[in-house]
């Protein structure tokens, strides 16, 4: 079984799916001859041609709007947003339109489109190349939002997204692109949307997280072993719909919940997870539902010192684990 990075898993998935299904087209800024800024589509234009691998103007509204039009008319477009920070001009096309096609046409039309969105910080990207933008999409009924953190999950969820008949936002954490490596089967497989996964079993605390923070949380969980604390790590993988069942099962077992995310906590994924736990696990709780996230400031800072201060780290997560375990 080959070991791939996340970006390699994304590339191989797109390549094999485009070979399988000629209705899949890829469009975005520099996705063609440049192969994408992260080289996700390196060599694609040579194999699939300029009709299927389309370099677009710097206009996300157009990328997503054209993709939506193509999707409604029988294609299966992949819209690549170069950086999540630039997705805002396409909000109307995605939240206002794509999410409502099936509902608005009473199921006559659907929008089978995949929007790949590299997001997240810890990459010295500063104000315009580091944002976490998941909340707005995860809030929107009609969209599915996945956030795979491992190469295996990236391949499985992107495969599902490309075969879905409804719009899926695929959040790819930039720092995991080349940081996270893992085995990915060569044979075809898919992972259902809406299924979290217990990445590490434990009995003392349920740590619910996603994205880059999964890797940091797993490191922190190993550090906690030395303190005699057994942490269960739940990887959400899908942010809409959130897999409440897996969360409830885990927290009901451990009695304590720590939710870790890179996005600012107020009105966020962690808010929703906390609500799910509060509504469903009250009589099993043995400590306050606890959240760890960055401070509530507008952007990811550019200064390395401030960026490190902003980002949750394995050490900060470890501290939160120890504090919650002691309660």
């Amino acid at each position: 079984m080959p070991e791939l990075s996340v970006i390699e898993a994304v590339r191989e998935t797109m390549r094999s799916e485009m070979r399988r299904d000629s209705s899949i087209i890829l469009m975005g800024e520099d996705v063609g001859h440049r192969g994408g800024v992260f080289l996700a589509s390196d060599g694609f234009v040579d194999e699939f041609g300029e009709d299927r691998v389309i370099d677009t103007p710097l206009a996300e509204s157009s990328i997503c709007g054209v993709a939506l039009g193509a999707a409604v008319n029988g294609m299966r477009p992949i819209a690549e947003i170069q950086f999540a920070d630039f997705v805002w001009p396409a909000i109307n096309q995605l939240v206002g339109e794509a999410a409502r096609v099936r509902y608005g046409t009473n199921g006559v039309k659907t929008a089978p489109m995949t929007v790949r969105v590299p997001y997240g910080g810890g990459v010295r990207g500063g104000l315009y190349h580091s944002q976490s933008i998941e909340v707005l999409f995860a809030h929107t009924p009609g969209l599915s939002v996945v956030a795979p953190a491992t190469p295996y999950d990236a391949r499985g969820l992107l495969t599902t997204a490309l075969r879905s008949n409804d719009p899926v936002i695929v959040l790819e954490h930039k720092r995991t692109y080349r940081l996270a490596k893992g085995e990915v089967p060569e044979e075809e497989y898919s992972i259902p949307i809406g299924r979290a996964e217990v990445k590490r079993e434990g009995s003392d605390i349920s740590l619910v997280t996603y994205g880059l923070m999964l890797h940091y949380s797993l490191q922190a969980a190993e550090m906690a072993v030395g303190q005699g604390i057994d942490v269960e790590v739940v990887d959400l993988r899908t942010l809409r719909p959130i897999d409440a069942k897996t969360i409830i099962e885990s927290v009901s077992k451990t009695g304590k919940a720590l939710i870790v995310q890179e996005d600012t906590p107020a009105i966020s994924v962690s808010s929703e997870v906390a609500a799910i736990i509060g509504e469903n696990c009250f009589f099993d709780l043995d400590g306050p539902i606890t959240r760890l996230g960055p401070p509530e400031i507008p952007p990811m800072p550019f200064s390395p010192v401030q960026e490190a201060a902003f980002m949750p780290s394995p050490e900060k997560i470890f501290d939160a684990i120890v504090r919650l375990a002691a309660i």
Partner: protein, 422 residues
């Protein structure tokens, strides 16, 4: 302007304080930094100074109350220049009102909203959460598990922050039957998990000893006549009734009638009152395979000897075969325990809570006894038995205990070979 005085934070780990003494009364004028209230924390005792100059208004917490740091403890009026420490309540004109039936459709006229809810205007005060120490902060899972397993949380040692009882502590208590930690044992020792019935007996005994102030009395009974009566009537009785005749039912018969004459022995201390029981239901302690059980001979004073014997024999047989049901063991008002069957000659039994007393019949032994008669003293070999009484000293004093014992003694000693016991 109105100003809320809060209990200031005094240190990182201090989360609450007890209001010791208010140094000012409502209406007093106070100067900024003037001592206002004395508080006691687990670290320090201190005076809290007035945060501003002005007039003290309402005091919100009483002396002796425990208050969380940051909580509002009083109100005061200050000069207008002082900025309030809480946001002013927005005035309703700034909030605006929502108009029932306004046109809110996408084009400004098609959709009439009639969904606005009517909000009651009388706002109810939300009580501030009571500040408690960690040891009394029971989480939902802790209270649920404690209720499910019948764990008294006050007996569980907390391992959490501030001595909080955690889920793990409760589960450990459930495992060990209510006790959190086992003292270390040596390798040669064996730790035995008590059976459920053993645990119940243990609980019952602890309850009795910790609630009931026990006192003891004993009496010596000459049972020679009883022994002779049994020897003479045994085969006829057993042929007639089909059950074995032992001494115990005869004594039970006597005890039941003595209880009728001494009702205090047949009572119960309940919630500060003495409940004198109408029925005389005598429990008899029986060692069964699964442990000590106490089936009850109901209305023992109403039955004749053959009735009591049959009932007693039936209960013992049920007990030995684990066939007792709930109705066989409930409603006892007094307990008789034949420890003599085990060779015991003296004992201090534990009362069967919530009864008032327990009586033991000890071993019958032949002893040389001085008999006083009209022709002077002589020594005779007699069958002798001790009876030991443990009684609830809240209900019964020594006098009543002795009267009861004397009554039993007289009842038994009046039996002769020729008595007509039914």
């Amino acid at each position: 302007m109105a100003y809320e005085i809060v209990l200031p934070h005094v240190g990182e780990s201090v989360t609450e304080a007890v209001i010791s003494k208010w140094l000012k009364s409502p209406g007093d004028s106070i100067e900024k930094y003037e001592p206002l209230v004395e508080v006691i924390t687990d670290k320090v005792n201190m005076d809290v100074p007035a945060p501003e100059s002005g007039v003290l208004g309402e005091i919100l917490v009483n002396e002796g109350d425990t208050v969380a740091m940051g909580a509002v403890i009083a109100r005061m009026e200050t000069g207008d220049s002082v900025q309030a420490n809480s946001d002013p309540k927005p005035i309703s004109s700034r909030i605006g009102t929502l108009v029932q039936g306004a046109n809110v459709g996408p084009t400004g006229g098609e959709f009439t909203d009639t969904s606005l809810a009517t909000v009651p205007t009388s706002a109810t005060e939300v009580a501030a959460p009571k500040s408690e120490t960690g040891s009394r902060n029971y989480s939902p899972v802790v209270t649920r598990l404690a209720a499910k397993h019948g764990i008294d949380l006050s007996t569980v040692t907390g391992s959490g922050l501030g001595g909080r009882v955690t889920k793990k502590d409760v589960l450990a208590a459930v495992e060990s039957g209510g006790h959190t930690e086992l003292a270390p044992v040596s390798e040669e020792d064996q730790v035995i998990e008590p059976t459920p019935i053993r645990k119940m007996i243990a609980e019952h005994m602890v309850r009795s000893v910790s609630e009931i102030p026990h006192a003891w009395s004993a009496i010596e009974v000459d049972v020679t006549g009883l022994v002779q009566w049994r020897d003479k009537n045994r085969s006829e009785f057993e042929a007639l009734n089909g059950v074995k005749l032992t001494y115990f039912p005869i004594m039970l018969h006597v005890v039941a009638s003595s209880l009728r004459q001494n009702p205090k022995l047949n009572s119960s201390w309940q919630d500060g009152k003495i409940v004198s029981k109408g029925q005389i239901n005598v429990g008899v302690a029986v060692a069964s395979a699964s442990g000590l059980v106490v089936p009850v001979v109901n209305q023992a004073d109403k039955a004749d000897l053959s009735g009591i014997t049959r009932k007693f024999t039936d209960l013992v047989s049920k007990a030995r075969n684990n066939k007792l049901d709930v109705t066989d063991v409930q409603d006892g008002t007094f307990t008789l325990n034949n420890t003599g069957a085990l060779g015991s000659v003296w004992g201090g039994a534990i009362i069967n809570h919530p009864q008032a007393a327990i009586l033991t019949t000890e071993a019958i032994v032949k002893r040389p006894v001085v008999i006083s008669g009209p022709t002077g003293d002589s020594i005779a070999v007699r069958s002798m038995m001790n009876m030991c009484l443990s009684f609830d000293h809240r209900i019964i004093d020594g006098v009543e205990a002795s009267e009861f014992l004397q009554s039993v003694k007289n009842g038994i000693e009046s039996i002769t070979a020729d008595s007509d016991l039914k």
